[in-house]
Symmetry: C2
Subunit: 523 residues, 2 copies
């Protein structure tokens, strides 16, 4: 035993550079899992908070052990994040999303997720542009200010989703979840659009250019994801992989999803959007073409990978908060720093309020003729507003992309922006996150009863129970239906489009790409 310990002590100093940090990080991840599980029923904690606190603790221990030299073991590399950690998180979101509700509330989700980000970015950019110089914090370029706007417009809704219950408040859950995903994608796409922008001439034409770029990125990325998903489904359906081994089926789904993401990145599209839609398509078609055990496996594996990636990121944020070098590099007074943090937090609060309440009213106006379940009440609006206040992984990654070179900051301004981002993420996750459960319990007392872990249930199950459309209906019924549909289309456009899509899907798409109505296939 002593011999082992001596070896360990010696190797920590001399072994391969990669082995030590990976070992420590995996050990801390295991600890996080166990502690997270033990605190599952605690009403103040959630996974993100647990991971951040454990990260802070580990950072402190490493800081002491290394005698104040460094607090983190792995140097954060935004490539690590964008190449390995983000794809599983987003793919899983697409794979587990309740498609029916997502598409029924598509219009509202898009309002919040796309238009909302534009509004929020605008307010944060203009606000910081106006306030930062007054706090004696200068040195940011126009592009930096635009980047700051997008960085602090991406939300992290994990915490809220743990409290909301999708069976009790389906509309709210679907909007918060849907917005969270679309919001991530929009911020990244917008961030990339800003990168390409010619900031020397910021006029109306250029603003239009951003919108145009954004639309192109959005359409092309979605298209690529749909193609990848359909291709995988087609392969799995025609080639009947399950006949020989379910291992190949699972591997093909994982690899094709990843391929779609990487291909999108290569084409400078939004990998996030691509892999999100690839996930939706895969759970809609491909998932039905594989063996029963592959279905169970894929569902859990994607959830597991996403969970580990998220925990990893929050752990890192916790560790990085104690990075002495960055703090030393910041040459601002304590008062100025506090001013900057307060400004950013205030702008986040205002920026989000500025679109949630007006857009909710707009959405309610559009849906005024529909049944009452589509109306977003004021309490719901407050929950939606609050749900998007947390800032998370995407903010950090974008900040590193904008203000570091491969994770290393070289000037005081960039170092300040990185520490700013980390402080805002820490504060919003810890403080806002802490208050989320009590707030929701207070606002929506009926959903407080069993608000535990809705994650498990997010399987693409609803498809199994959809009544099959009979294709041999009489012409008369069809005519009658058409008339009904037409008047419906005027009143509730989204619902009607959705129901037409289902017919098309059942008649043409499912026979080719697979689905529950064709279980007895040729395999």
């Amino acid at each position: 035993m002593m011999m082992l310990l001596r070896d360990l002590a010696r190797n920590v100093g001399t072994a391969h550079a990669q082995v030590v940090p990976i070992t420590v990080f995996v050990a801390v991840l295991c600890l996080c899992l166990v502690v997270g599980h033990l605190l599952e029923e605690n009403r103040w904690m959630n996974e993100s908070i647990t991971a951040i606190l454990i990260g802070l603790l580990s950072g402190a221990i490493i800081l002491v052990l290394s005698k104040g030299k460094s607090s983190h073991i792995l140097r954060f590399n935004e490539e690590l994040f964008f190449i390995y950690l983000l794809p599983p998180i987003i793919f899983n979101a697409g794979f587990q999303v309740k498609k029916k509700q997502f598409f029924q509330n598509f219009f509202t989700i898009m309002l919040f997720g796309v238009v909302g980000v534009f509004i929020s970015t605008f307010i944060i950019t203009v606000g910081s542009w106006w306030i930062f110089p007054r706090l004696n914090f200068i040195g940011l370029t126009a592009r930096d200010y635009l980047a700051v706007g997008t960085i602090f417009s991406s939300t992290d809704t994990v915490c809220t989703l743990q409290v909301l219950h999708q069976d009790e408040t389906p509309l709210l859950y679907s909007i918060v979840f849907g917005e969270g995903v679309v919001n991530d994608a929009t911020s990244v796409v917008l961030f990339n659009a800003v990168q390409k922008l010619d900031v020397t001439r910021l006029d109306g034409k250029n603003a239009l250019h951003i919108v145009g770029d954004f639309l192109y990125l959005f359409t092309a990325s979605t298209g690529l994801g749909v193609i990848a998903g359909l291709l995988t489904s087609f392969c799995l359906k025609t080639l009947c992989f399950g006949r020989h081994s379910s291992v190949r089926e699972i591997a093909l789904m994982v690899l094709m999803a990843y391929l779609s993401y990487m291909l999108a990145e290569l084409l400078e599209l939004s990998g996030i959007l691509t892999v999100f839609f690839c996930g939706i398509l895969m759970s809609h078609y491909a998932w039905h073409n594989v063996t029963e055990s592959s279905r169970i496996t894929t569902r859990h594996v994607f959830a597991m990978m996403s969970f580990v990636a998220e925990t990893f990121i929050f752990l890192y944020v916790g560790m990085d908060a104690l990075d002495i070098e960055k703090w030393k590099m910041t040459k601002l007074s304590f008062g100025t720093l506090i001013g900057i943090y307060s400004t950013l937090l205030m702008l986040i609060l205002v920026g989000r309020a500025a679109f949630v309440f007006p857009l909710s009213a707009f959405s309610n106006y559009i849906n005024r003729r529909a049944d009452r379940t589509s109306t977003i009440t004021l309490k719901h609006q407050v929950v939606i507003w609050w749900a998007g206040l947390m800032r998370g992984a995407v903010s950090i990654a974008l900040a590193f992309k904008q203000f570091t070179y491969s994770g290393v900051t070289t000037d005081p301004v960039s170092a300040t922006m990185i520490t700013n981002t980390i402080i805002v993420v820490l504060f919003s996750t810890l403080v806002f996150g802490f208050l989320t459960k009590p707030l929701i319990h207070w606002l929506l007392p009926h959903s407080a009863a069993n608000g535990q872990q809705p994650r498990e249930g997010k399987m693409p199950k609803e498809d199994m129970t959809v009544p099959l459309l009979s294709l041999e209906e009489s012409a008369a019924t069809n005519l009658l239906r058409a008339k009904d549909s037409l008047s419906m289309l005027i009143e509730r456009p989204v619902h009607t489009i959705h129901s037409y899509w289902r017919k098309f899907d059942d008649a043409y798409m499912r026979p080719i790409f697979g689905g529950p109505s064709h279980i007895s296939s040729a395999c």
Copy 2:
């Protein structure tokens, strides 16, 4: 569309260094999966051959596209192999091994896997030491020759296992599978022992030192794996993770397995042995403590990761075979190269024959009083001999570790040794692998009928059907049993130890660490 293609063409040149190779590699992996599936029923092909051929093809295409500059996309890094690719392969082997048969044939497997590697290493080292200088290939040090011995003693039995059927020839299957795993571990451990050796004085004392080092590594590594496995099982059993989410259970199993491997590497033990025993313990205890869906998921996920890692390695071998730079660096004549390859292949054939046939005879002598099913017939001996002729991933990785510095060769001798290894791996996998199915069909015609894909069945299922031991037997029966056992112990030591272990396991281990007899636990 044209715009996309233009973007693609531009980005392949300029994008982040990591994105392009990963994208290409993932795409080729997908292709491999599909082609491998289509060729599943072909009697000449197997997964390794398919992957190597596709690798060669991709290498050729890249060579043409890059105008003769390079044939591979990722530079091989033995750290990539030892840190990311090997652990899942070995863990899966341990997780899916039929423990009952493995331990019943433990003695024979250890004979082949440990003693056999020593004999084979000795013959290959001495043989190449004697022959290489006569072929005008000089420049290898004593340590290099010892390394060559271990490099070419590690086998790859994937191909044979695809043809053997574990229900028809259980003994043969268990020996070939068990030897494959133990052999991998032994070669790596021996390789590391050789690295530490003081080669200036190669005498009896030093040889004893290797054996001592080997025994220490073997015991310590196994112990670490057992501790990690038991700790995980205990955690899963006491904390009842499944109550909240099966995601955490799966993540904990994956992370703890990986942690055990990395910890072993950090302690300069054999990660392979550690993770192998961790896998055995996890499938024996931990697997029973998780929810039903986690069981299905873990089984398939480990198999999937192992499959992808193996395919990745063979693909790489195919691509690397066309690495122009290494070929140019080799300054030997064509005749000499052919001589070296023939020597190595000949030594592999002889080195394996030198231990398979004598050790089989020895094993038969030890088991002479046991029932006839434990006897290894001559036909079986030929199959075992043949099964271990293929050289694979571990050989490549060890060769890179010995003869390159982070994947880059600097002198002609090292470059020659790398190309030698690749050619031997290619030749043995392609030619010997090609002949395996026909040979086994000819030698064991009864097992030819349905020799398809035994992989699927390798789940730790047998535990479920083990009759429970009644703990309330009468004293008389116990006495009778004890007498029987004693005479058994003399005749068939391994079987008796195994049956005592089962009693101990059921009485003390399973109640603490979990197992099928305690399904109705507290969770």
